[in-house]
């Protein structure tokens, strides 16, 4: 028994130019987004490796030796190490994978190697999601998935035209979707991470930080990235009331503010109060613990902590989009809380020896006022009437940053205003602190959801007034009322660069964006935000209480089983039921075959019937009648229901003698 090489085994089938072109094309789609982040030399190297492989196949040149490939790998890895000082972070890891894709191609001879490279392509798709999981990324990666699948199909059917393979790939993916949906929603979800993540895993996330120095908020304000979305049940607060509290800054070193040590406190839910709002927030990952809440939180979200200065904190940094529900009040009922003397002392501390002019001004204000509240009012009036300009590009400031802003440059962003105001208050003996967070947010008329972007980042002040507690004062609003009334775009002088989406000329673009945002929100909630909790909710909807992994798995397998059966039934649909004419003809042929007159494959109905009639002269007439009727129905134009019925009847009644 001779065992020839198996011609379908991928190990023995060699790749040709078409296979390689498809493979390289697919890999390019997957790698394209990475080239924005990879060092340029590595992108060039990877492209060169692809090009080299194509050159080899086009010119029938031999592939490089194994040692040369290992050498290239070693040099490139050294380069990556020099660039990142490690090979195991997220970014260097992905770049290594990119490099390996190129190197793998250089040693790809058989379809097996090519299939491994295609699987590597599937793997590279997922690495893109580490950076962004937007709908756009999903669409592009679906395209990559499609072409990689078509490439794999091409390996199995080298003779088939590419169009047919693309069609098969589409069909396969369409058939994969129901199972994928079932798995997506029902596969028992485990909350990651399973092990420690690399140090740089979340380096790309933007958001507020725990310190504020001149320039860092205005930099943040130029980003269109979404900070969070809020969906209100019932009323939506108007724009001027939408102060989303974030980190509170206590400590000033003359240049920058910082939160200092955080003191946790027990939370007591607030009852009553004016302006009570119930809402849910879908917070984007920002790699910090802060949860943003409208003004004063009246309830505490699940698994959140509360600090003495009224911040909400998650137990671990928010590294994935998360959702929480809470209630806020704008004006709490009852007397303002008392404050610890230590906290008040902290709220008066300022570095000595800086900003002498401001200190003098503050002392003048103090002398002219009878109460802390009056000091605040006078300071606000000073800012309002001082002719201050609001700008995203504030002039650079020296050591006495507050003095220079208040008396010389007179132009700044909210961080300058709040910093100067709080400093002035402290100099005048009024306890004050800086609060950072977001102000405003855009109401989407499509789905009534408020989208808050990084460009809405804001800093304001809180002063402690005896009997009233901490009171919010927004010096920026005083100096530039438009900022709070109608957002950043109106507040800035004409001609200053705005984030693209905030430009008023682009109204139509904003309309499109509203729709897109509404879709993106659904995407976030149902696709990206789908987690173990949502899964439990969904199972409850299906009537399964306390869904654990067992019930989920049982449901999943039931659905998958049914789907596979449906798919099987579909796959045989055309085959199980040929058309009635063909079925009747088949029955006729079987009847004749039973009498020893078998149709040979190349024999047409005419020759066959003549031969059968000769062999079975007793049924000659019946055989010929059926054959002519069949020929007429199959090849002629006389297809009619009665004719088909007659054919079937004749075949049924045929008794061969």
């Amino acid at each position: 028994m001779t065992q020839a090489a198996h011609p379908l085994a991928p190990e023995v089938r060699l790749v040709d130019t078409r296979d390689l072109a498809w493979l390289i094309g697919s890999l390019l789609i997957v790698i394209a987004p990475h080239t924005l982040r990879a060092p340029w030399w590595l992108t060039v190297l990877t492209l060169c490796l692809f090009g080299w492989r194509l050159y080899c196949t086009l010119n029938r040149a031999p592939l490089p030796s194994r040692w040369l490939v290992i050498g290239i790998a070693a040099v490139a890895m050294l380069g990556i190490w020099i660039e990142y000082r490690t090979l195991f972070g997220r970014q260097p890891g992905i770049i290594l994978l990119m490099l390996f894709a190129g190197l793998k191609l250089l040693e790809t001879r058989s379809h097996r190697d090519a299939a491994v490279a295609a699987f590597l392509g599937y793997f590279l798709i997922i690495t893109n999601f580490l950076y962004t999981q937007s709908m756009l990324t999903a669409i592009v990666m679906c395209g990559a998935l499609y072409t990689i699948t078509a490439t794999l199909i091409g390996f199995s059917a080298p003779q088939r035209p590419a169009r047919a393979n693309l069609r098969t790939a589409a069909l396969l993916l369409a058939h994969a979707v129901p199972a994928a949906l079932a798995l997506f929603f029902l596969f028992p979800r485990v909350q990651g991470p399973l092990w420690g993540l690399p140090q740089d895993a979340y380096s790309g996330l933007t958001g507020l930080s725990d310190s504020m120095s001149p320039g860092n908020l205005s930099r943040l304000a130029q980003s269109d990235a979404i900070a969070f979305r809020a969906e209100f049940e019932g009323d939506t607060p108007p724009q001027p009331l939408r102060y989303w509290r974030g980190p509170v800054m206590w400590d000033f070193d003359g240049r920058s503010w910082s939160t200092g040590p955080t003191l946790l406190a027990d939370f007591t839910p607030l009852e009553g109060g004016r302006g009570r709002y119930r809402y849910g927030v879908v917070l984007e990952a920002h790699n910090r613990n802060w949860l943003f809440a409208l003004e004063t939180a009246a309830t505490l979200p699940e698994r959140a902590r509360y600090t003495a200065d009224g911040q909400l904190l998650a137990r671990s940094p928010v590294r994935a989009r998360m959702r929480y529900d809470l209630v806020s009040v704008i004006a709490p009922a009852g007397p303002g809380s008392d404050e610890e003397p230590a906290a008040l002392r902290r709220a008066l501390r300022r570095p000595p020896g800086f900003n002498a002019r401001t200190v003098a001004l503050a002392e003048k204000l103090r002398a002219a006022s009878s109460s802390d509240a009056e000091v605040v009012t006078r300071a606000i009036a000073l800012l309002r009437e001082g002719g201050y300009a609001y700008t995203l590009e504030p002039p650079l400031l020296g050591a006495d940053s507050v003095d220079e802003f208040l008396f010389d440059t007179r132009a700044g962003f909210c961080e300058h205003f709040s910093s100067a105001f709080v400093f002035m208050m402290r100099a005048a003996g009024v306890p004050a602190r800086v609060v950072t967070g977001y102000q405003g947010g855009e109401l989407n008329p499509v789905d009534q959801i408020i989208t808050v972007r990084q460009s809405d980042a804001h800093a304001w002040a809180e002063v402690f007034l005896r009997g009233r507690g901490w009171v919010r004062v927004d010096p920026t609003a005083a100096a530039v009322p438009g900022r709070i009334q109608s957002g950043l775009a109106r507040a800035l002088p004409a001609g200053e660069a705005l984030p693209l989406m905030m430009r008023p000329q682009l109204e139509w673009l904003r309309a499109v964006r509203f729709r897109w945002d509404a879709l993106a929100h659904k995407w976030n909630v149902w696709v990206l935000g789908y987690n173990p909790e949502r899964q439990r909710d969904l199972m409850l909807l299906l009537g399964i209480r306390d869904a654990d992994w067992r019930s989920l798995t049982a449901t999943l397998f039931t659905i998958l089983g049914v789907m596979t059966l449906v798919l099987l039934a579909w796959s045989l649909r055309q085959l199980v039921r040929p058309d009635p004419v063909q079925r009747a003809w088949g029955a006729f042929c079987r009847k004749l075959a039973a009498r020893g007159v078998e149709r040979v494959p190349h024999e047409g109905p005419r020759d066959y019937s003549v031969r059968a009639a000769r062999a079975l002269p007793g049924s000659r007439r019946a055989i010929l009648r059926i054959a002519w009727l069949y020929i007429g129905l199959r090849y002629g134009s006389q297809a009619s229901a009665p004719a088909v019925a007659r054919l079937r009847r004749l075949v049924r009644q045929l008794r061969l003698t």
Binding site: P7, L8, P10, A115, I126, T149, A180, N531
Partner: protein
């Protein structure tokens, strides 16, 4: 190992495979007869999915989950499509031209995939002979597979078991099926080259008459003689070989020859005799003589031509020595 076991217990194998060979008429691969297992590439794919799943959990990547599960669905769909590529295919056999023992019989199979869809990359492999061919079956058309099976002995050669296999579309699964259609090929005895029977005593009694040369049918070439008509010179052959040759023709008066089993030496075994006779049939046909065949209990009257030689050779192929 399992294959060897099944070979030793053919009845069990038949039950397992769901058919009893040989199968008459058109063989349809019903679902029950199509087996499917993951190919090596399929396991690699599964491993890739495992890594993707762990990565998705670890980084809480929703789209990672979506991709992983879409690929899992793709694998599932791939399995169904691979089975579909074979299932319900109809296989019929064509005529296998007779061959001489020692040659290879060429069996023709026709794969009919039905009108719905094409069935690419189907491997047909003769299990015993190892001959194999990959064909694409077009939608609504036939694909022809020719499998060579060595013909060792004269007589009827059954096709034997054929495996049909496919890995289309993704190569992750391997589906296969066994068929054993009732196809057979006639194998003539291995022809032994030897001179035609010499004019012996019996031949003088009529077995071989004088062979005269006429000019009706082309019989071969011989060296040119000065008296030959230029019309009979084989100019084409002369141009090739530089030697003057004359075409030789045999006429009505050509010889009548009996190829007789009893003419052969007594010590010859039956198979050797049949080989010798087969060689004679071929040689006699070449000379253009009318020849007849005599076997114990069988006589074919002298004639000539392809159908006559085929009849003679068939008689030799199927002769059962008593």
């Amino acid at each position: 190992m399992i294959g060897a076991l099944l070979e030793r217990h053919p009845r069990f194998a038949n039950r397992l495979y769901g058919f009893t060979p040989p199968e008459h008429g058109t063989v349809v691969l019903v679902h029950r007869r199509v087996y499917i297992v993951p190919a090596r590439l399929g396991w690699l794919f599964a491993a890739t999915l495992g890594i993707l799943l762990i990565g998705s959990i670890n980084y809480a990547l929703s789209l990672g989950f979506a991709l992983t599960f879409l690929l899992a669905g793709l694998g599932l769909a791939g399995m169904v499509h691979t089975a579909r590529n074979l299932a319900r295919m109809a296989i019929s056999v064509g005529r296998a031209e007779p061959v001489f023992a020692g040659e290879s019989a060429q069996f023709r199979l026709y794969l009919d995939g039905g009108p719905g869809f094409d069935r690419p990359a189907i491997l047909a492999r003769h299990l015993a002979a190892g001959s194999q061919l990959v064909v694409d079956v077009p939608a609504g058309g036939l694909a022809e597979v020719v499998l060579a099976v060595p013909a060792a002995r004269r007589g009827w050669l059954p096709l034997g078991r054929v495996m049909l296999e496919t890995r289309f579309p993704l190569g992750l699964f391997r589906a296969w099926s066994y068929i054993e259609p009732a196809a057979r090929c006639l194998v003539y005895p291995r022809p032994e080259r030897s001179a035609l029977p010499p004019p012996s005593a019996e031949a003088a009694a009529g077995a071989l008459r004088t062979q005269t040369t006429g000019n009706d049918d082309f019989a071969g070439l011989r060296g040119y003689q000065a008296s030959d008509s230029p019309r009979h010179v084989a100019w084409k052959a002369v141009a090739r070989s530089d030697v003057m040759l004359t075409k030789q023709f045999t006429g009505e008066a050509a010889a009548e020859l009996w190829l007789d089993w009893r003419l052969l030496p007594a010590g010859m075994g039956p198979e050797q005799r049949l080989s010798r006779l087969a060689g004679w049939v071929l040689a006699a046909e070449r000379t253009g003589a009318h020849y007849g065949l005599r076997l114990p209990g069988l006589e074919i009257a002298p004639r000539r031509g392809d159908s006559h030689s085929a009849a003679c050779l068939q008689a030799l192929a199927l002769y059962q020595p008593s």
